[in-house]
Symmetry: C2
Amino acid sequence: MERKTISRAVIKRLPRYYRYLGDLLESGVERISSNELSDKMQVTASQIRQDLNNFGGFGQQGYGYNVQHLHTEIGKILGLDRTYNMIILGAGNLGQALANYSKFARWGFKVIGIFDVDPELDGTMVRDIPIRMVSELPRYLKENDVQIAALTLPRNQAKAMAELVTANGVKAIWNFAHTDLKLPEDVIVESVHLSDSLMQLSYNMSNYKDKTQKKSRTKEK
Amino acid sequence: MERKTISRAVIKRLPRYYRYLGDLLESGVERISSNELSDKMQVTASQIRQDLNNFGGFGQQGYGYNVQHLHTEIGKILGLDRTYNMIILGAGNLGQALANYSKFARWGFKVIGIFDVDPELDGTMVRDIPIRMVSELPRYLKENDVQIAALTLPRNQAKAMAELVTANGVKAIWNFAHTDLKLPEDVIVESVHLSDSLMQLSYNMSNYKDKTQKKSRTKEK
């Protein structure tokens, strides 16, 4: 199927559509108008129509969107119509939290291995997965087809681990380490910087207070 | 101090500047040019100069930026020149991971309480903080000055908990639950949707493959 280029801004909104449509499906809703979806998502109906028109417009005048169909199509665009084998490097709390998210498997992301350097963790089970030692990783990667490595380890280990797994064929890194990674061009890196998010929060807290102190409270809710 | 309005795009980049400048400080670097910073951050020097000019331009021609000064000023803009008391609602792996990030305290975010509904966790220590029961939360919030509540709990509990803490004076929510929260206008919400990030990753994986299959490999690295 040929697809036209979709802007990065739209792509960034797709997971949210996918989430809302998944919720609707679970509640047994079969179709929804852009206006109803707009109310739920706090996005304008025209934005929704515009976004979804990017993929050929799954809506029909007077009928609205078929929830199942739209959910499936957006899932395909997001690459959720196949499965990915994922390993987690770093079996601390964050690594174990990721291993325990049952929804990831439902979306096609299957955690097949967890690795750490702490010998005390060797063999400990997280769900049904034994924690293995990082020293076993090169062999493991040769014997298993791994597409994604999640890095939930200290930043000073992140670079070496990222290089190790990419040298052994892993083409996607989900990076939680508090550093940016410079990797070969064909490696996809998606970073979750928790500290950046926390700083946005404190920025907004400071800024909101400044704002409310400056303007007199004339605004009606 | 009067500040001019800074665009959201710039604000989003500030934590990253703050991180790089913090790294430079730790390595003992006292000043840096926009060109050197550009090399490190993989952002153009003109972008850097433009961004930093928003705050009155801390750089000097022929000298560059004073790293300590710039770090401090960006910290102030991000609201990191004061401290915040934070509680964590949900003492699972993710909640414990957040409680264990020592850097948060260094930036002024102090975790003072952790709450859960599981009686088996009652009194368990995470670092030096005992896990308390959610039933104690209203009284705790009256007796303690809490600015931020992190929600690391299942999505079906997130709404009720967010409403409980905001009704008791908490004005900022750091939301990890897989849902959007609708709260009073004066409550700041910052969400970390891990699934959205994972879906961006799979989108980019699919898209990269499509791209490389379409174009012949003429691009030089």
